[in-house]
């Protein structure tokens, strides 16, 4: 029987004759790719920042970052866009999954016929394609799906109750494991390096953390920044603002990684790690006015080039604003001294307690030295000039911070009102809060600013930490009058601030007169901005210098002034912040070297 079955059963295949065919007549038009199909690339050019993560992950080398017409490099955008070679692409879509901004996607289009083989290398989004606006296709699969860690490694900090009455540094610093984990998040795009005023080799030193070659990292940092201990703590980290990782998560904690490297090398190992000598092989002498970031940075690079450098400093210690403006809980003096000591170890001299203009004039320096660099910074305060500011209980934040840093007693009232919304305002607020805690065991400070919290210039972490330290913040109020009674301050009258800037973006605050408040206080501190004091430049010399219409000094790309021997940098030119000062100092040092070799003239103006 089975034999007969074996002969007959294959004929059941004839049953298909009466069935409809299963094939599709016109598959190209009738059958689009599935909603998730990995077809051809699309790129949202506006959203793309040219970080090149797609290029890095591409296993076949199909993606190349190329400059394209109509896209300019700017802060946070390399100006490059991915070009895909379909001769190499394997459509794995890892480029889509790793894209920092989510601009790169794949459409579900899968047919592309052309006679010209060249067209299959194209820049998605720039070279227009029929599938450019297709909604369907491979997209990042869900919000939780990442090929990277979105959250940064949290920095261990002192708890509010541990720090509210002490000046011990708040931030504890990363451990080895934490630093490596944070460094691992970096995608090596280099947007940070382009944005950093000093153009530090950030991806390289982050790689050094990853590979635990900390001495190499240290050398990399010193190439562009001789104050890494300082910058590792209080840099304004413009790099982190543009970090590619910041688009969909937390930016890399670049500042903390810098601090990790700097802290890992002890001061006695600096010379060993940096392997540099001061050649002192040039007979030219350079005077620097001000031992702040600009002066120290320039001194360091000039000393390395072999020049004799002498710094004239008005205060009894070096550091400028880094010492006299920034409280110790943010930047301990030991850290600052570590950086300064290394610079001094190269043979840089500092003459303290010497104020240029009073103790020595610029003209004298010009006579004795081949070139002079001025980086005197912004050490005078601006006032709100509201009625009552002439009262003796009204103080300037910078003066108080400077006095406190020198070890002097500063007045601390039981109830204090601080005016200002920037980092200096936060510094003085938090310093006074600590002193109040020590003196009265409680904090009673109101800090008020014109700006609402969203647009306050202070760093968010400063604002948050001030709140944790029990400071009352009152953003969005404009100071009107300081109320006094029998020679004592009673408080500050304020009006609701409607807007700070006008349509043209100029400072022109508008107030709501019906909405007022009164902040009680026995003492008022103003922290609304700083000004420069360049009275040391004599009238005669001023005639030979260029000023802008708004009274700012004009210098060229190398910070050289119209008086070719005189270089000017730092907060009085750019900034204000430490990293600009360091960058200016480095550039000015190169400018001075060029000038002394006869290769630099003033005619190259800044394109300001």
């Amino acid at each position: 029987m089975s034999k007969l079955k074996d002969i007959l059963s294959p004929f059941t295949a004839w049953g298909n004759v009466i069935k409809d065919p299963v094939t599709i007549k016109d598959p190209i038009n009738d059958r689009p790719g599935a909603a998730r199909y990995r077809g051809f690339h699309q790129n949202d050019i506006e959203e793309c920042i040219g970080c090149g993560a797609c290029e890095s992950i591409c296993e076949t080398g199909a993606i190349k970052m190329v400059p394209v017409e109509g896209v300019e490099a700017k802060e946070g955008d390399s100006g490059l866009r991915p070009e895909v070679d379909y001769g190499r692409c394997c459509w794995c879509a890892l480029c889509v999954d790793i894209c920092s901004t989510g601009s790169l996607t794949l459409s579900n289009e899968y047919i592309w016929v052309d006679e010209d083989p060249e067209v299959f290398t194209f820049v998605p989004g720039i070279d227009k394609k029929s599938w450019d606006n297709r909604q369907e296709g491979w997209k990042r699969p869900g919000p939780d799906y990442e090929l990277n860690i979105k959250e940064r490694v949290q920095m261990p900090e002192l708890k509010p109750e541990e720090r509210e009455d002490s000046f011990v540094e708040i931030v504890k610093g990363y451990s080895r494991e934490q630093a490596i984990a944070e460094a691992d998040r970096c995608i090596d795009c280099g947007l940070c390096q382009a944005t950093c005023p000093a153009h530090m080799d950030i991806p390289d030193y982050i790689r050094a953390v990853r590979e635990q070659d900390l001495e190499e990292g240290f050398r990399i940092m010193y190439k562009t920044n001789p104050l890494p201990e300082v910058c590792g703590r209080i840099c304004t980290h413009k790099c982190e603002d543009v970090c590619a990782m910041g688009h969909r998560g937390d930016p890399i904690a670049i500042r903390w990684l810098k601090r990790y490297i700097a802290d890992s090398i002890s001061e006695k190992d600096y010379a060993n790690a940096l392997q540099q000598e001061n050649p002192k092989n040039k007979d030219k002498k350079i005077a620097i006015v001000g031992a702040g970031p600009t002066g120290l940075s320039a001194a360091y690079y000039l000393a390395l080039m072999g020049y004799s450098v002498k710094i004239f400093e008005a205060q009894p210690n070096a550091g400028g604003m880094m010492r006299y403006g920034i409280p110790e809980y943010r930047l301990p003096y030991e850290a600052l001294d570590q950086d300064i000591n290394h610079i001094l170890s190269l043979g840089v001299e500092i003459q303290y307690n010497t104020r240029v203009g009073a103790d020595v004039t610029l003209e004298q320096l010009h006579d004795q030295y081949d070139s002079v660099l001025v980086g005197t910074g912004l050490h005078t305060s601006r006032s709100t000039r509201i009625p009552g500011t002439d009262h003796k209980e009204v103080y300037q934040a910078i003066d108080l911070l400077r006095e406190y840093s020198k070890g002097h007693q500063i007045p601390v009232a039981e109830k204090i009102v601080v005016i200002g919304g920037g980092n200096v305002a936060m510094d003085i607020t938090r310093t006074l809060a600590r002193l109040q805690n020590q003196k009265y065991g409680t904090v009673n400070i109101i800090t008020t600013s014109l700006e609402t919290e969203e647009i306050m210039p202070a760093d968010q972490e400063e604002i948050d930490e001030a709140r944790e330290e029990k400071v009352t913040l009152k953003p969005g109020w404009g100071p009107q009058k300081i109320e006094t009674d029998n020679d004592h301050i009673k408080g500050l009258h304020v009006q609701r601030c409607l807007s700070v800037f006008d349509e043209k973006g100029r400072f022109n605050p508008k107030f709501d007169e019906d909405s007022t408040d009164f902040f009680e206080g026995d003492m008022v501190v103003e922290a609304i901005g700083q000004g420069m004091d360049i009275s040391y430049i004599s009238k005669k010399m001023r005639e030979n210098l260029d000023f802008t219409q708004r009274g700012r000094l004009v210098v060229n790309n190398f910070f050289q002034s119209k008086q070719e021997w005189l270089f000017i940098g730092g907060d009085i030119i750019q900034g204000p912040d430490v990293i600009h000062g360091i960058a200016n100092g480095h550039k000015a040092a190169r400018g001075i070297d060029k000038y002394l070799r006869g290769e630099l003239e003033y005619n190259e103006r800044r394109n300001a």
């Binding site: 059963s9 295949a13 990995r38 459509w91």
Partner: protein, 397 residues
């Protein structure tokens, strides 16, 4: 019946040649009695390229040598120059027709070395994809066995059903052949809406196909004559040659990694491992035919038991800097051809130190085939090779 007498059935084999001390026949090519024939490297017996050097006496094979080297792409070396994440799109090309086993083994190995675990949902999805992958492979090789003996109709039907499975793959993974679906840490997407219903419909098609191929191929007197007693593997050779998968199960060995060393969530599924005894081409095809239905059944079970909700990917470190801790591991899975494993060594850098693949084709197609072919008819070589389910890309990596 004369045909069967020439088959590789030991009981029928009568020594016609002089054998030397090495057990090989003493062949004097100048005697005019023998012919040398090269089969391959391109031929219907295998996907990919592999060559056989056959010495014939009439149309009986007296000596066979396997030659590989036509397909060497240096994958294992390429891996050493790639980040772990970049290995993914390369490793799945090790075996074109069944790429997911590569994905699974490598992803699992990386997870094991770095101490992370894929979420439960991802493990269900991985199992689903592995079974779908097995299914589409079997839809190719079961009728392919008929194709090798000249019965083309089953191949057409099989390919149609396979396309339906590939459609499911396209929906779920975004790719039809190279799925790139499993990554270390999980998978790349959840089930699309309505997938279960569509998948179950395709499974009905699979059962229908199994019935039809049973009629047309397994109950076909011509196929039976060609396949029964052809390509006999002595059960005693199983362990000597390291034979695994359906080839071992057709010789009475109950071997299945899914049962013996359950991975993923296979211990939550219920099925019987098919085992048969005759160990010839027909039995091996029959085992695969049974496997095909078991797999369709498993897919139904997975779709039914898989939880609705849940994360499908564990957070993993930056793919561009992912350093895997120092260590080594071997991860194996049951591919449609048998045990398939990845040995991964990490030296703690972002690049693997060594990745090597243990695939069943290496033993089946190189050592075993040389032995099996002796005494076989030259017309059956293609059929015998198909019955071993050889995949040369996995030999030459």
């Amino acid at each position: 019946m004369k045909m069967n007498s020439r088959q590789n059935n030991p009981s029928d084999r009568t020594p016609k040649h002089e054998y030397g001390p090495d057990g090989k026949p003493q062949i004097d090519l100048s005697s005019g009695k023998y012919t040398k024939v090269w089969q391959g490297p391109n031929h219907p017996g295998v996907t990919g390229n592999m060559s056989l050097e056959l010495t014939l006496c009439g149309d009986e094979i007296v000596d066979a040598k396997t030659h590989v080297g036509y397909l060497h792409r240096g994958f294992e070396k390429l891996f050493e120059r790639r980040l772990y994440m970049q290995v993914m799109p390369t490793c799945l090309r090790m075996c074109v027709p069944e790429s997911d086993t590569n994905e699974y083994c490598f992803a699992e190995a990386v997870e094991e070395l770095s101490g992370i675990e894929a979420p439960e949902k991802a493990r269900w999805l991985r199992m689903l994809v592995l079974e779908m992958s097995r299914l589409q492979m079997l839809l190719r090789v079961v009728p392919g066995q008929g194709g090798a003996f000249g019965l083309g109709i089953g191949v057409q039907w099989g390919m149609y059903v396979r396309e339906l499975v590939l459609d499911l793959f396209e929906e779920l993974t975004g790719g039809r052949v190279y799925h790139m679906y499993m990554l270390p840490g999980g998978v790349r997407g959840d089930l699309p809406e309505g997938f279960r219903e569509r998948a179950l419909k395709v499974m009905e098609e699979v059962y229908r196909f199994a019935e039809r191929i049973d009629n047309v191929m397994f109950n076909n007197s011509v196929f039976k004559k060609r396949a029964i007693h052809t390509g006999y593997i002595d059960p005693a050779w199983i362990d000597r040659f390291g034979i695994v998968g359906p080839n071992a199960r057709a010789a009475g060995y109950r071997r299945d990694v899914r049962k013996d060393h359950p991975y993923l969530l296979y211990d939550q599924l219920e099925w019987e491992v098919p085992v048969l005894e005759h160990s010839d081409v027909y039995t091996r095809a029959r085992i695969r035919w049974m496997d095909m239905q078991v797999t369709a059944d498993l897919i139904g079970q997975i779709l039914e038991k898989m939880p609705e909700k849940g994360s499908f990917k564990t957070p993993t470190p930056n793919a561009l800097n992912w350093r895997i801790p120092l260590g080594e591991t071997y991860v194996k899975a049951e591919a449609s051809r048998g045990e398939y494993g990845y040995y991964v060594v990490s030296d703690g850098s972002p690049y693997p130190r060594r990745i090597t693949l243990r695939g069943p084709s290496y033993t089946h197609a190189i050592a075993l085939l040389e032995k099996m072919l002796i005494g076989a008819d030259v017309a059956d070589v293609g059929g015998i090779m198909v019955s071993l389910q050889t995949c040369p890309p996995e030999i030459e990596r």
